[in-house]
Symmetry: C2
Subunit: 306 residues, 2 copies
Amino acid sequence: MGKDTKKRIEEAIISLEYQPNAVARGLKQKKTTTIGIIVANILHRFSTQVSRGIEDICHQYEYHTIICNADDDPEKEKKYVDMLKAKQVDGFIIIPTGLNEGLYKDLVKERYPLIFLDRKVETLSVPTVTLRNVKAGYEATLHLLDQNHENIAFISSPLTVSTRKERYQGYVKALEDKGAGIKENYVFGGDMNHLKDKFSAMLEAKDPPTAVICGNDRVLKSVLPVLKQQNISMPDELALITFDEVEFSEFFTPAITTVEQPAYEMGEKAADLLLQRINGKAEQAVGETQEFEPKLKIRESSLYKR
Amino acid sequence: MGKDTKKRIEEAIISLEYQPNAVARGLKQKKTTTIGIIVANILHRFSTQVSRGIEDICHQYEYHTIICNADDDPEKEKKYVDMLKAKQVDGFIIIPTGLNEGLYKDLVKERYPLIFLDRKVETLSVPTVTLRNVKAGYEATLHLLDQNHENIAFISSPLTVSTRKERYQGYVKALEDKGAGIKENYVFGGDMNHLKDKFSAMLEAKDPPTAVICGNDRVLKSVLPVLKQQNISMPDELALITFDEVEFSEFFTPAITTVEQPAYEMGEKAADLLLQRINGKAEQAVGETQEFEPKLKIRESSLYKR
DNA sequence: TCGTTTTTGTAAATCGTTTTACTAACCAAT
DNA sequence: ATTGGTTAGTAAAACGATTTACAAAAACGA
């Protein structure tokens, strides 16, 4: 277009105070440059870090994000999917509750660009960004075994999603590799509401564990008060290691050993994959799984010192 | 409408797999049941807590939220406002960077429902949800004075926004009320990038402060490493108190004394006010400021023990 | 200057709803 | 059977952009 008409148009834009209407635009173009993000539970630090990674990439490409918190509730998850569909989002990034297979399947059938994050849904071939969780569980356990712990507890929220199942598998595998049997009563994988009681009882039983692995940051948040209450000192009386990043973990006494995930990068990756799919550059990527490496950060809480 | 036609319609909805299109609906109705949230910097814990409060209320009323992170950058803030306008949001909740008066003014002029959060913009009469920050600063300082501290440092990010200015005012007022003079060299309110160096120098100077107040959680995050590095122990060598909630603060050694804001509730309140304005029930509320009370949670880091 | 290409102006259809209007059909009660 | 009132059905305009089409005008090279 000619450059003086261009100028004329720009003048008109300011003189008429024209403001584009993305809703009308979206209606006609069938494209909203908006993606929907549904996280299983925003209370996990992982979720917020991942969201930032997603947002930063989207911001680069002038896409926008609507973040929804399913609150571990499949009903809510479904409601949000419907809402986001109604809003004509161009694609989804979902940390699935795992309890909505039909829903996910429909999304695939309707050819919505979709990326799973954190958790795999085995029955579907959807590109997924996840951690090598078996390895994460294995390394955490191995580290404790190396400190001569034999009675290692594994405390987790319900072992319903791949993430937790795999971490547990890693735990089991490490114990087996070292010839240590797994003891049922050192394992808890259940409702967060009972976690404190069960863990408390575990510590008060005879022959209590000398080390504990927390399945994620929310578990840690329940476990620490129990230790304080029972006046158990780390790491001498109980060694501790937790999955997920803990803010200020180096300022705890003792500093907390963690197995961290590159959450931010995982978010970036997921956004990348999704935008590629949306823009048709990556049909072939469907079904691919991107695995990230866990990072064991050894601090004081897991170091044997007797 | 007759109940058999209603049934007929419902059947058609499923047989045709009808899915409503909120974009078309929004276009016609000039209403998207979506609000825009712009936070000055999502890295503050306050911002994420506040967002949750907002979201929960919005979810109740079937409104949706788009959260944007201005990253302390007025340019970005403006860009996001334009984007959200284009998306035809029904209203805004903004934690203002404070450096965009014209932008805010336009929003008011264009009669957008708007609520400010956390920070006041003095020159505009916009309903604002905020903390009694002067009181917060006063109480924090008074508490340290009560522990017989006289050399109290005040470390903050730039004193450009009302929140920080007021906390500082409270600090000054408490010192004055107790007849203690304020010493310029105990005060830092500047760029986060220089914070560590400046604070480090402050501690190494002769006659260093015996207590420090951190202006917010991000400041704390810079201050703690300095203490660790200089091997300064709390609270004997330096008492510490920080604004904002710190996760796990009771598990620090020493447990960190905090001045907390009811962030979640403040978010709820802001959302409430905004939805009332959107639905025309509260024209009169314009200009009102809702102030919340700070909560001083005394823990070990501020308790004198020599 | 002619013919060709590019730029400009104008108009109409479309996206999927809501809104308004109007007519037709139905039901109950007088 | 007539009246009034409700419910059904149909149609068309509107929301604010994009898209397509076509005609008119301008710019260009030979």
